[in-house]
Amino acid sequence: MTLLDGKAGESYKVKELMTDEDVMRRLEVLGINEDTNVKILNRKRNGSMIIKVRGSRLAIGRNIAACIEVREGE
């Protein structure tokens, strides 16, 4: 599943980023790496969402959410 399939209020673990180098580097630099915990705080119908990663809040668009492969967190 990708983060786009995730539910607000739930935590997930990042498995893989599947996007072009440019976006991938940006996400990695922001701390979205393999095994990082990501919590969805809030999401909209169009797929944009607010997530919490490593103590900071990020707003991400649908395309970015769709390229973050995750698994259910513990």
């Binding site: 180098e21 440019d22 976006v23 991938m24 580097r25 940006r26 996400l27 990695e28 630099v29 922001l30 701390g31 790496n33 393999e34 990082t36 705080l41 809030n42 999401r43 909209k44 119908r45 169009n46 944009s48 607010i50 990663v53 490593r54 103590g55 900071s56 809040r57 990020l58 707003a59 991400i60 668009g61 649908r62 395309n63 970015i64």
Partner: protein, 663 residues
């Protein structure tokens, strides 16, 4: 001047670099609570116990790569030995992410000092940072807790700068594992042989393994078997592993209780109510601008009328020539003074925008509007320049620098001038008050909405026409909400008010003199009949073009042309054109409205004029900024022409449509 210590402020966006810079230098640079406020590097000076220190404030960056404009600016400054000491300002409440940049700075080997800002939030959350252990784990660099807002810890920080400006961090901090470490060592040997001038071969070796464009280009190596692929992903991961280890030892009592910011967000960024809440907030801003501004206006009017009378009396009493009296009273006081009476409205507008920007809501607007902007091929982030455009278009256009692609930037730059900037406000206040009385506020708000919608629609159309459409995606950090800071707000509002006063004293002053001149002279010299003046002849050239828009009066042509210098000049020109002493007073409005109505200019014409003023070619300062930011004269020319044509079509549609429906 070599006795300066040059200090660079480096850190993530919105961690308080500029606040700290202002605290040290006494500068009044804009500060707000959203990432990307600072887009240019700024320099200032301070002193610590007799040592002169030059401070450099840099745009916020997340990494020392060079993808975005801000990263390039900051990296260039740090790399080219412009700085002796790097002060890395980190948001202690978001230490994990902030330390990523720190790990990169540590590798640079330059003297580095860590300034832990926002410690109050850390304490509020019941967290604790071990300030003795942290420096030990970070190569022995000084770690200084500061509060940029409360201005505490400043002396300690400068003390550290003065005493540590020649000591870099010690040891390799991040271990990249045997495979990468071996490659780094091999590359260092080759680098040292090929480029002995390189002082920090480890950093360069790491950058080569990350396929860094600049380093690869600057120091080409024949080492394809070592740099067999891009190791950036592993390098980033290892850095974060290192940070996790550091924090395990130094950060305590991480509580996971719901924070107030999350509670506020659940309302303000609500999936359904988000947009209505935004529109309501904007409506409230304009409501305050109009009502509170108008309440304060009276005082200014009385002062202006008194001043004008006194000057008139003084000049005639002193036996000044009639032309001189006319120039000063009808030209300068009417033009400049008329504009000054709008100061209360401007003041309230900027006060409201300042509160909005400093609260932390701005970044949320990008999220709230992301869906709509996405349809126009823009990310929600492109909406920020549009909101800033309600203040002034020039900084708004510069704010597009935070957008990722050039295409997105150009599109945002094209539509930002459609926003109702503060200079258009006097036009709305005047014409809405004159012709719409009770509905004045609704009429003015409709123009704000019209600008916003048109901007989005134009972006939408451009996106539809674009064959190589790119998918733009939102990525923006959302700061903590906080109570707006009095000092921040007062700096912001005062700077904007000062700008307005300076504009009144310069651009509007000169424009008023020129207008007075072209209205009082013709080819034969001075004339008493302005309908035979140079101005009238010029304005008449435009009459046929503006007629379909209901603006076929030569005076309007003159006012619109002069408005290119600054949009307020449209108003000051009307004052000078119709010889009205105080155009913003009740009597002045009646006088102007009567003069206009006698020419068949009614409410519909007024609305058409406001629509035209909203959309047409922005002021010269904006055009110059567009030229600078796009780097292309051609693109700028296209935009200017497009805006002019758009304004004309919109005004014609409004006027002809209005006629059709019998307004």
């Amino acid at each position: 001047m070599e006795d300066y210590i040059r200090v660079g402020f480096v850190g993530n966006p919105n961690c308080g670099k500029t606040t700290l810079f202002n605290a040290f230098t006494g500068a009044k640079l804009k500060v707000a609570n959203w990432p990307g406020v600072t887009v240019e590097k700024k320099e200032g000076e301070t002193e610590y116990k007799g040592t002169k220190i030059k401070l450099i404030d840099l745009p916020g960056i997340y990494s020392l790569t060079s993808y975005s404009i801000e990263e390039k600016v900051s990296r260039k400054c740090i790399m080219e030995d412009d700085v002796d000491v790097i002060v890395n300002i980190v948001d202690a409440s978001s230490l994990e992410r902030n330390l990523y940049l720190t790990t990169q700075l540590l590798e640079l080997g330059k003297p580095l000092i860590l300034a832990l800002n926002m410690m109050d939030i850390v304490e509020e959350r019941g967290m604790e940072i071990d300030l003795h252990r942290l420096p030990e784990l970070l190569g022995g660099i000084p770690v200084v807790p500061v509060s940029a807002r409360k201005r505490t810890g400043l002396d300690v920080l400068m003390h550290a700068v003065v005493h540590h400006y020649d000591e870099g961090p010690t040891g390799h901090l991040v271990d990249y594992g045997p495979e990468i470490e071996e490659k780094i060592e091999k590359l260092r040997i080759i680098l040292k042989a090929e480029y002995p001038e390189i002082r920090n071969s480890r950093w360069h070796a790491i950058k080569l393994l990350e396929y860094d464009d600049e380093v690869t280009e600057q120091y080409p190596l024949n080492a394809d078997e070592i740099i067999d692929r891009n190791y950036e992903k592993e390098i980033i991961n290892k850095k974060y592993d290192f940070i996790e280890e550091v924090l395990e030892d130094t950060l305590f009592k991480k509580d996971e209780k719901e924070q107030s910011t999350d509670r506020i967000d659940s309302i303000l960024t609500h999936r359904i109510f988000g947009i209505p809440i935004f529109l309501t907030i904007m409506a409230l801003v304009f409501f305050l601008t109009f009502t509170v501004g108008d309440m304060l206006k009276g005082v200014f009017e009385i002062a202006l009328a008194g001043f004008s009378q006194t000057v008139y009396g003084f000049l005639t009493g002193a036996g000044a020539a009639a032309w001189m009296v006319s120039l000063i009273v009808d030209g300068i006081i009417a033009g400049v003074g008329g504009i000054l009476t709008f100061l209360p409205n401007i003041f309230i507008l900027f006060l409201a925008l300042a509160v909005l920007e400093d609260s932390g809501y701005m970044a949320r607007v990008a999220y709230v509007m992301d869906g709509i902007m996405g349809k126009a091929g823009l990310s929600g982030k492109a909406f920020l320049p549009m909101v800033l455009g309600f203040g002034c278009t020039v900084p708004a256009i510069m704010a597009t620098r935070t957008l990722e692609s050039r295409k997105e930037r150009v599109k945002a730059i094209l539509i930002t001038p459609f926003m109702s900037c503060s200079a258009k406000l006097p036009i709305y206040v005047l014409f809405a008050d004159m012709f719409f009385e009770q509905q004045a506020m609704i009429v003015a708000y409709s123009l704000y909405v019209a600008g916003l919608l048109s901007g989005i629609l134009v972006a939408l159309a451009v996106n539809k026409l674009d064959r190589k459409r790119e998918q733009r995606s939102l990525l923006i950090e959302l700061p903590e909400y906080k109570a707006p800071n009095a000092r921040t707000i007062s700096i912001y509002v005062w700077e904007k008010t000062k700008e307005y006063l300076v504009k009144a004293g310069t651009t509007i002053f000169i424009a008023s003199i020129i207008i007075w001149f072209i209205l009082n002279f013709n080819m034969d010299g001075m004339t008493a009949d302005i309908s035979t003046s140079i101005g009238a002849s010029l304005g008449r050239l435009l009459e046929p073009v503006l007629k379909p828009a209901g603006l076929g009066m030569w005076q309007i042509g003159v006012a619109l042309i002069s408005g290119l210098s600054a949009k307020e000049v449209v108003v000051s020109s009307f004052a000078v054109l119709f010889g009205i002493g105080n155009v913003n007073s009740g009597a002045g409005m009646v006088e102007l409205a009567t003069a206009l109505q006698s020419n068949g200019f009614g409410a519909l014409n007024a609305y058409s004029l406001m629509i035209f003023a909203l959309f047409y070619t922005p002021c010269i300062a904006t055009i110059a900024t567009i030229r600078k930011e796009t780097g292309s004269f051609r693109v700028t020319a296209y935009m200017v022409i497009f805006q002019l044509v758009f304004a004309w079509i919109a005004a014609v549609v409004v006027y002809q449509g209005g006629m059709l429906f019998g307004f």
